[in-house]
Symmetry: C2
Subunit: 249 residues, 2 copies
């Protein structure tokens, strides 16, 4: 599997590049630091799925004990960013095709209801904050800052989740937004650099602010449907591979 015996250290190195700020030894790393570093590395695909995450390497990298690393890895696993098995190294999660579809289906259900509940409850300041986020996303899109645009897109959905009167559902939606962003990073079609979907977010915000609950929920579901459609979710189809390889005419 590992063609290069230094594979493990390489995975850690791709984290260190982000973590060591300015080459100076990091001040004091907490579990949140490690959590964020790994999470960001997964989102930006610097840590591809299946990457090994040895505790000792991470502890040396961040200058903390294994306890802290272990805590971060446990939290990451509970958020489905990594996978943990007893007596086995933690690895970056590898959500499959089927799981990806299930995540999207779950998010359509939850975000639809959250959208319905949020609609009509936003005050002037909240509405303004939402519009500002959307404006920033549009700006990032036009300037071609794709990474920043993705960040803004997530921020918009997270903002809606936090504004939901039902915070139990809100927290569920936050988790699903997180998992969605991971599978998008994994399965987004190569050519698609900008998946800026029309002005969906703008229209969605208008409906929410106006209090059109049903229409807003419907649009949110369609938005997620479109997003899922942009992904490259074709089955690996091991049969065909094998046949084409064995045929040596």
């Amino acid at each position: 599997m590992a063609v290069d015996p230094r594979t493990d250290k390489q995975a850690a190195a791709s984290l260190g590049a982000m973590h060591t700020n300015g080459g100076r030894g990091s001040r004091k790393a907490t579990d949140q630091t490690i959590y964020d570093s790994i999470y960001q590395a997964v989102l930006t695909q610097r840590l591809p799925p299946g990457s090994k995450l040895p505790e000792v390497a991470l502890s040396e990298l961040f200058g903390v004990s294994r306890s802290i690393v272990r805590k971060a890895l446990t939290r990451l696993a509970s958020d489905h960013v990594t996978e943990q098995s007893p007596n086995q190294m933690a690895v970056v999660a590898r959500p499959g095709i089927e799981e990806t579809r299930q995540i999207f289906a779950a998010r359509r259900l939850v975000e639809g209801e959250v959208t319905r509940l949020v609609a009509g409850t936003l005050g002037k300041s909240e509405a303004q904050a939402l519009r500002k986020l959307i404006k920033e996303e549009k700006s990032a899109h036009e300037r071609g800052q794709d990474q920043h645009r993705v960040h803004c897109s997530m921020a918009i959905h997270q903002y809606l989740a936090r504004q939901c009167p039902n915070q139990v559902l809100g927290k569920m939606m936050l988790e699903l937004v997180l998992r969605t962003s991971i599978v998008i990073a994994l399965y987004k079609a190569p050519g698609i650099t900008a998946c800026f979907l029309g002005n969906d977010h703008g229209r969605l915000a208008d409906l929410i602010i106006k209090g059109e609950a049903d229409q807003a929920a419907q649009l949110a579901r369609e938005h997620l449907d479109t997003l899922e459609g942009l992904l490259d979710l074709d089955e690996p189809s091991g049969d065909i591979d094998l046949a084409s390889i064995l045929r040596y005419t």
Copy 2:
């Protein structure tokens, strides 16, 4: 707050009663053992909400290091059974009235969809297993074994969650079933010893097996509505209490 200085140890003692099997020293406790003990104690209200859970007391009780206790407490917190704050003792979760309503609302949404997805997908053996669970619940109800009946009721919903084609939604439903059982234990009206709701589970199973997705989902939601209605979710209403106390005619 604590009228008795031994309050902490008392909380631990109520666990020990269940844990020490037959007075013999426990063989080897793992984090799952501690998790289950505390979880069961919370469900049976031997550990009322707000009970302190000191790590040292638990570690001595179960004969393991604090690391194991800490792991169990972390898992319990992520499942909303306990609450953890930095530099502060873990306590049994105290979900409030509003949170309880939100949990029920979320479960109506999720379990409704899970029910719809499961409907019509059960094979003969699965249908038989489901009917067996319902039969056992009914039997426990008739014999007055309330604790066993609650256990069966949970098992039924958990079985449906596990049969759901969308396991992302299934896992969410499992969490919500767990939280629901906790708030039921906390807020169930004093007089209600048997909240055996007609033959809801039997009718629900019939609809699911027959594949009547919409009707099954509708019945599941109504079932949860009825269940929530049986709880004692009146606001503590500090005002009225204060007024009635101060009036001394």
